[in-house]
Amino acid sequence: MEKNNKVIQVEGLTKLFGDFAAVNAITFDVEKGEIFGFLGANGAGKTTAMKMLIGISNPTSGKAKVAGFDVFTQAEDIKKNIGYMSQKFALYDDLTVRENITFFGGIYGLSRKRIKEKSTVLINELGLEKVANTLVGALPLGWKQKLSFSVSLLHDPKIVFLDEPTGGVDPITRRQFWEMIYKAANQGITVFVTTHYMDEAEYCDRVSIMVNGKIEALDTPKKLKEQFNAKNMNDVFLKLARG
């Protein structure tokens, strides 16, 4: 039964670009409702690994199941069950808040009635009532990020993938953002998040650190700090990355 709780199962997943192994035989599991931090320096292979899991990049070899579906053969089923927020802010600037929600609800196949209900709830929760009909381009970045995250949860996915979601936002907004992440996790949504901020790594239930295409460490932040005899995650990361 324990196996059913694992929403992401990865075994020996590899991606080759020519001779270069961008992702080199990584193996890990993620449990349901877990906040899983996926760390690594730039170019360590985080984004490539993530792209394979969300079904927009074909793995070279290995095995991976996301939400119970195989990444090689069932990419379409995976797409229905996951949410994704990229590091680039990715709502449409020239659509209003409400239009963006309607559009993304639409492409995930939500009914018109459901979209209406969801938009109202979402706009109220984010306190965007006054700007619901304002073009998204006119909103401050922090608001956009929060909206973007909410939109990625619109279709009640089992797992949400966040690719450096807090890049370029202020500490207060980052904190609010993490509150939203906790809230989602409490509702049973698994959160798979990549980040550069080591203080954010402390917020995760478990953390993996990728170096040169391989996962070099994987555990709770507390255990990692003990293992590497480090004061904080930043030290852990530096020790690993310097190798």
Binding site: I54, G55, K79, K80, Y92, L95, G106
Partner: protein
């Protein structure tokens, strides 16, 4: 289907909220057709000329009256001596000077021959050429009127080879070309830009991660442009009919069908461009250099293909616009049906299918 409608709706929001694309969509066709129709034309109107009349007799006066009565010329001044001609030209006051030889009438009656010299300002060779043609035509018409029994020959210097055709109107030649350019521009450039924009903004990634199929994304993105391009084609045809009195001799339905075919081939080219360019700027440059220039230069729109060097003539065959222009000219000007232009239509159809196949293939590869 509901997803698709939502997608198309969003696409229309993009178009109508972006002033730049709105201008390209609707301002451009009107501006271009007006420009080509009125400004860049082979016709001449009210060209200022001067006259040096050495005879000042009944015949020359009559000819001068004919010329000044035509809407093509207005006689700006009378020159008194050969020496003045140069200064008149230098001041740029006139485009041409007509010189009647001494004892014009007398020569005409005695020798059956008199000379009018047409001196044109050749800094603008096209206009110069046209002016001499028009003057020739007026002189010939006058000669016919003047004499129905005798054979009288005017010797005109400089001689021109082109024959004046009173029915030749510049705008008739330009409408098919402008229509081709605009459909190409709107369809290919706008779609390639709008697809690369999604790539640049990162929204394309979001779309690819969603359950919506890549093919649905592409169709959703090009559909509004098919619709708007058809509107554009209708606007252009309407403008040419009502403003330039250009008749459409052939079938509107056939014209519409051929236009949609051409639009689809241009859209496929747009998708193809978007697959090879990462940014909107690149897409725009490739569209301009790779599509617009060949359309303008090699399609036979401005420069006749038959007078091009052989290699260029061969290259012109792979340009869809060339075939579309032949088709449009055939339908609009000559009123021909499918039985005459089936070959061109087939070529265009083949190219369209090829471009679609290629762009779908390219697009899929990109997703790996």
């Amino acid at each position: 289907m509901k997803r698709f409608i939502g997608f198309v709706k969003k696409e229309f929001y993009h178009i109508f909220r972006d002033k730049r694309s709105l201008f390209i969509l609707f301002g451009m066709p009107i501006a271009q057709i007006m420009l080509f129709g009125f400004a860049i034309t082979n016709e001449i109107n009210n060209v200022d000329i001067a006259i040096l009349d050495h005879s000042k007799d009944a015949t020359t006066t009559e000819i001068i009256n004919k010329i000044s009565a035509s809407k093509y010329f207005s006689i700006k001044q009378m020159v008194n001596s050969e020496a003045d001609i140069a200064s008149v030209f230098k001041k740029g006051q006139v485009k041409a000077v007509l010189t009647f030889e001494k004892e014009f009438s007398k020569n005409l009656i005695k020798d059956h021959k008199a000379t009018v010299q047409i001196i044109t300002d050749a800094t603008d060779p096209n206009t110069a050429n046209t002016i001499s043609n028009y003057v020739n035509a007026i002189l010939q018409k006058y000669q016919k009127e003047l004499n129905k029994d005798l054979t009288i020959t005017y010797q005109i210097v400089p001689k021109t080879r082109m024959v004046y055709n009173p029915e030749l109107k510049g705008v008739y030649m330009f409408v098919p070309g402008v229509m081709t350019i605009i459909l190409m521009l709107v369809s290919a450039m706008m779609t390639s830009i709008s697809i690369t924009r999604e790539k640049e903004l990162g929204t394309m990634e979001i779309l690819l991660v969603s359950p919506i199929k890549p093919l649905q994304v592409i169709i959703g993105k090009v559909f509004p442009y098919i619709f708007l391009s058809v509107i554009n084609a209708v606007v252009i045809v309407m403008l040419s009919i009502f403003i330039f009195n250009m008749p459409v001799q052939g079938s509107f339905i056939l014209l519409g069908f051929e236009s949609v075919l051409f639009i689809i081939s241009a859209l496929a080219l747009g998708i193809l461009i978007s697959t090879i360019s990462a940014t909107q700027q690149t897409a725009m440059m490739i569209s301009l250099m790779g599509l617009m220039l060949p359309v303008i230069l090699l399609s036979g729109f401005i420069f006749p293909i038959s007078s091009m060097p052989m290699p260029l003539q061969v290259i012109s065959n792979i340009i869809p616009a060339k075939w579309f222009i032949i088709i449009v000219k055939g339908i609009m000007l000559k009123g021909v049906g499918l039985q005459i232009i089936w070959k061109e239509t087939l070529i265009l159809l083949g190219m369209t299918v090829f471009f679609i196949a290629l762009s779908v293939k390219k697009y899929k590869i990109r997703l790996e």
